[in-house]
Amino acid sequence: MKFVEEYRDPELAKKLLERIHRRSTRRIRLMEFCGGHTVSIFKHGIRQLLPQNIEMLSGPGCPVCVTAIADLDKAIALSRLPGVIIASFGDMVRVPGSRSSLQQVKAEGSDVRVVYSAQDAVYLARDNPDKSIIFIGIGFETTAPTVAASILQAEQEGIDNYYTLSLHKLCPPIMKAILDMGEVELNGIICPGHVSSIIGSYPYRFIADDYHIACAVSGFEPVDILLGVDSLVEQIEKEEYKVEIAYRRGVKPEGNPPALKLMEAVFEVSEADWRGIGIVPASGLRLRERYRRFDAEANFDIKTEPSHEAKGCICGSILRGINTPLDCRLFCKICTPEHPIGPCMVSSEGSCATYFHYGDGYGG
């Protein structure tokens, strides 16, 4: 695969690792913010290849993991309304809410369809004019523009039975919130690659300027991740903190302006409820007034019972980087991929699922 295979070259990876080993002299802590980076790091065994003095932590960049349980309960409540088809990305279907999951309500008779694309949900609406199609909008700034585009498409094509439950969240605000919580000390952050393809690198400048933490925007192949780590090590050793784009073929400093414009036309910034963290101001997206007719929350009567987390689940502190899955009493014993208790085990890129499937990253 072009633009992918070349960045899996073991020889190039080896050379980068050698340079990282050579240059890295101090004990440092790096956070890979994005779930996709977590999976890639584990899949390729990068943790065990880096020098011992570099500690890697996983952050809350997993849209499934951070979807508030109350929001998931809303989606489940919507699925039970007559005439509703729920369209969802596959990732959400098995996540346990307070009492059920989309997969479970599907087995009970609700119409829940897995879609690959928000556009497919629009087509579903077009093909089922007598139903209401509600698309569960999760994802960060990579996905939000696609959902915005789907709403504009529905508007243009006169489709009036397409709705979205906007659960989108924003990366730079949560990164600031995590840093402000002061629970973890970081020297560098591997910034999300595809979120940055949309938003560019400028939004992370505050991390380098105000918090003196090195930033590297990285891609997802092993060589890409190592380029990111290499940049962070260099910055930290020189004590010169900036936001470097290591993923140059995919990210420009200004991001993707047309995509940003589209996103801003349809959505406005709002507070958001982050599972395990709580309400964070100005960290989410909701539909603008002009597009309220596409808003599931505004158009449907959603009745939910009080939400509650499962006892013993520490996904919250795992998402904040304070604990690892190995610290959780439920991990592997009660909480497994077959019977997940919390979102970090269900999501294919959640820390717990990653540890379970790939080991602790050190071959164990």
Binding site: P10, H44, Y116, E349, H357, Y358
Partner: protein, 336 residues
């Protein structure tokens, strides 16, 4: 002549008898089946232990690139027999048909069954037909049971893997899985990949003739190669270490996996086998496999070790190791 299956076709009356005669016996007929007795009665000329297996097939869509539910139903059961080292002989064929299925589609599937049984050199000797109300079945469900004979001296089992053994895969992984997923409503992508559905009994026969030290055989169907290797590791209480770079896969299958977020190790294969072979025979078994059309891309992908029993470990291209777990849940397309 009706062009669709009606409930009456399953009621035991004239319509059903006509259907059986016209659509099944005329195509699949053989001396045993033609008797249409309640049981198929036959003698076994071969000596050895009996192997007996059963499977149900509910795949949707029933027609897919590279095959259909009929071909799958024959090959799946033939392969299960072959994986024990048995020579497959006779199959039963049970159909549960949804009211409204086009008779032309049914006959197409029966033709497909005929072709598959001819290639595998097995016979359908008994069968059953039921028709259920529209909505009570998804077009067509098929159950096949099969008997075969395991020649004396052959002992192939998932529990026989020993440290030092080599692990061989007979060809590219994930073809069937991706071919089916690409037909799934709503995913809307096209792949130039067909299901690899095929009968593997002749391939197995050649392998067994070449070496008396084939310890394990299994076809990695649902759950993929990862699940099969984990089963071997657990049953034999060993670990299996595989090399990522050695696992054969088609470029377009890998591309589709990237697109949807699938790991090809978990995709179903319907015309491939995983073999665990004593190290001294691995090369000659591999050479023999490559001479068969269903083994032309066979490769040694790893070996059996004693440490970490029950685990499957993969050495990545970068030289690091990671665990390969069994499949959990369903493979669903993901955004993350």
């Amino acid at each position: 002549m009706e062009d669709r299956i009606l409930l009456a076709h399953g009621s035991g009356g004239k319509l059903m008898h006509d259907l059986i005669a016209r659509s099944f016996v005329s195509t699949l007929g053989n001396p045993i089946l033609n008797k249409l007795d309640d049981s198929a009665v036959f003698e076994l000329e071969e000596h050895g232990q009996l192997a007996f297996t059963t499977d149900s097939y509910v795949i949707s869509p029933i027609f897919f690139p590279g095959g259909d539910i009929g071909k799958l139903a024959v090959c799946g059961t033939v392969n299960d027999l072959a994986m024990s080292g048995a020579t497959p002989l006779y199959l039963s064929l049970s159909l549960i048909i949804e009211e409204g299925l086009l008779i032309a589609d049914l006959e197409r599937i029966v033709d497909s069954i005929k072709q598959a049984t001819s290639e595998a050199r097995v016979k359908i000797v008994t069968g059953d037909t039921k028709v259920v109300n529209r909505g009570s079945a998804d077009k067509l469900f098929i159950t096949t049971s099969g008997v075969g004979v395991v020649p004396p001296g052959i002992d192939i089992s998932g529990a026989n893997a020993r440290p030092g053994d080599k692990v061989i895969i007979s060809g590219t992984i994930g073809d069937h899985g991706i071919a089916i997923v690409s037909q799934r409503e709503g995913l809307k992508f096209k792949v130039p990949v067909a299901s690899d559905c095929a009968p593997l009994n002749r391939l197995v026969a050649e392998m067994v003739k070449t070496s008396a030290n084939i310890h394990c055989l299994r076809d990695p169907t649902r759950g993929g190669l990862a699940t099969t290797l984990n089963e071997f590791a657990r049953q034999s209480k060993v670990s299996i270490v595989i090399e990522e770079a050695n696992i054969p896969a088609k470029k377009s299958v890998l591309g589709a996996c990237e697109l949807l977020g699938f790991d090809p190790l978990y995709l179903a294969n319907e015309g491939k086998l995983a073999a665990v072979v004593a190290p001294e025979d691995a090369d000659k078994v591999l050479t023999k496999m490559k001479q068969n059309q269903y083994g032309s891309e066979a490769a040694i992908i790893g070996e059996v070790a004693a440490e970490h029993p029950g685990r499957v470990i993969m050495k990545t291209r970068l030289g690091a190791s990671r665990i390969v777990d069994i499949l959990v849940g369903e493979l669903l397309p993901r955004i993350c």
